[in-house]
Symmetry: C2
Subunit: 366 residues, 2 copies
């Protein structure tokens, strides 16, 4: 059920060490199957999840040039999304500016849904329902974000402080974007019911966002004009012009550069079971568990043998046999060239191991 | 300092699952570097350890045909031992019979030292001193074994019950070969000082052993005669004849078939720090430990990062990066196609995992 004028832009930059060694510099988190389905990469699930909202030719994925080819292969063949390959990583604002301009040129009435490639959603119908509400409000000119009702006093997320209802049912004003809180404040946010997690999902008319970028990021807006002129005047392909202008763009998030500065942002609260899958702990929570609460992430789970073990998450490469005996609550992440073993509760400390490897000059596996 | 007439026969058959996945059907324990030196396979250390006692051309290694080529490559180049490749595994008695006959044909006064390929010795000088005593006694016609003074009430070994002194200094009579005891008896053996571990190391004149085999294993003796006749009469190579006769030999240990039946066996007690390296636990005990009692068995230990971890033994294949964070007393054994993670104290339960894999038909990695 595609809605007229809706465009999708999946933001698939990103790097990080939290899922090392499964994730690498050239193999980011969104390529990993960290959600409930151990066979579907997060980016493939993300694209498929929003596919009912827009046709394939109006779906874009913005990623780094080095990831473009692998990204194309990750996306379901039935959704031949257009991949916008950034020559350099510049955080999310330039990515959104580019996608906005692409949509605007194709359809002056375009409504753009921007969302990260590496989150997980439990209730996909609920998620799309929330997006449809946001699309309705955005069609009327609002910049709308999705706000996830908190289920715990999370200190790792930014929050949206919710104000009064708007004229659109289920849509509220945002009073403020709130930085990651300390635990007492996170606990208060959980109690007061007026704070929602900022999931980094935005919906807006391309024309509205283009105007906001003109105001708050004029150098990016001018750069995108230069790209358009380059193509329009027959000077060459869009990629060439992007190559020219992107390096001069500031590296800044769309939240910070635009959303927190525009006069008004609205929010659709949702209980769609969103997770940013920020750690192996989160991936274990999402995964299908055996009778002893183990989660096996492997192409062929029959190659993984667990004896007297519980609460353990195992990620194994294709064809690898893994035998785990008598352990509890571990993370065991194997890849062809690197292995991690740690308690699930300490998996985030993988950064220490990565730093130690970097110090030893073993940068090939980072 | 080679002694005249001394021949060495290293018994390197053997298979087993205790070191899976580092050991496999086609890659037995003696190929692994499980002793103090993480770079030297047990079989290479064994051959090098006895090299001062006999020249390379009088050193034999008896192994299975499938292991012959790899065995040759494992042995230090300076010791071009002769590899006797058995067409089928028949336990140790036929292997000893073959090596005995080879030595006897080359030197009627041959004294043969038979020892397993997969043990570890801490005090190599003490070990060779004990062997030299055994060689002296064997030269006079005795069948002599080495007996290791127990350092703990071990229930996993056979024992030698020691009797009176012989005319040779430091050499005693063996009253009986004792099966693996239960714990109370093992504790008694430790206290009484009259019981030594049977390390499976024997020294004898080849002529004496040949006569003992004639008496106690007549079909093997006759088979070896047939092999000799085959070669002597120009009917073909020794290997062909071995191929013919070996399958008909009984599969029986030299201990059971001969040693326990001959009228007298002598023993040289020794404190040479012998270990049969029967488990990852034993390998951890032998290994060089870091300040947190971790043992790393890897070609390049700088690829292994341990953070806040203790008492853990890690075996990693060439080039593999291993990061271990916040764990205690684990065994982590990685190989290109299989991985084991277990508490060190439960590493012997790897058999359960191997059985589970076999049941699932994953026999390729066993």
């Amino acid at each position: 059920m595609h809605r007229a004028h809706v465009f999708i832009s999946v933001l698939a930059g990103g790097s990080g060490t939290r899922f090392w060694p499964a994730s690498r510099k050239g193999w980011p988190k969104q390529f990993l199957a960290l959600g409930k389905d151990p066979h579907t990469p997060l980016i493939a699930a993300t694209v498929a999840r929003v596919a009912p909202l827009a046709p394939a030719e109006r779906t874009m994925v913005v990623t780094g040039r080095a990831l473009a080819e692998a990204t194309r292969e990750m996306i379901p063949r039935s959704i031949a999304a257009r991949v916008l390959a950034e020559p350099v990583a510049k955080n999310t604002a330039p990515a959104v500016a580019w996608a906005t301009r692409v949509a605007l040129k194709e359809d002056p009435d375009a409504v753009l849904v921007v969302l990260p490639a590496d989150a997980y959603i439990e209730d996909e119908d609920g998620f799309r329902t929330a997006l449809e509400r946001a699309i309705d409000a955005a069609t009327s000119g609002a910049i709308v974000t999705l706000g996830v009702r908190p289920s715990r006093p999370e200190t790792g997320y930014g929050y949206l402080h919710v104000g009064q209802a708007t004229e659109h049912p289920g849509v509220f004003e945002v009073l403020a974007f709130v930085e990651k809180p300390d635990l007492p404040r996170a606990q208060q946010y959980l109690r007061d019911g007026r704070h929602l997690w900022n999931a980094g999902i935005f919906v807006f008319r391309a024309s509205v966002m283009d105007a906001a970028i003109r105001e708050h990021l004029p150098e990016v807006w001018a750069g995108m004009n230069e790209v358009d002129a380059h193509v329009r005047e027959g000077r060459g392909a869009e990629e060439e012009a992007i190559e020219q202008v992107f390096p001069s763009f500031p590296s800044v998030s769309i939240d910070y550069a635009v959303m927190e500065k525009v006069a008004r942002v609205d929010v659709v609260p949702t209980d769609c079971g969103w997770s940013d899958v920020g750690s192996w702990q989160a991936s274990w929570e999402l995964g299908d568990k055996d009778e002893n609460n183990n989660v096996v992430r492997a192409e062929d789970p029959t190659l993984v043998v667990l004896e007297d073990s519980s609460g353990t998450v195992i990620s194994a490469p294709k064809g690898k046999i893994v035998a785990v005996i008598g352990v509890d609550d571990l993370v065991i992440v194997d890849t062809p060239d690197a292995l991690l073993v740690a308690p699930r509760s300490r998996a985030q400390d993988v950064k220490r191991a990565v730093d130690a490897l970097a110090k030893r000059g073993k940068t090939g596996a980072l």
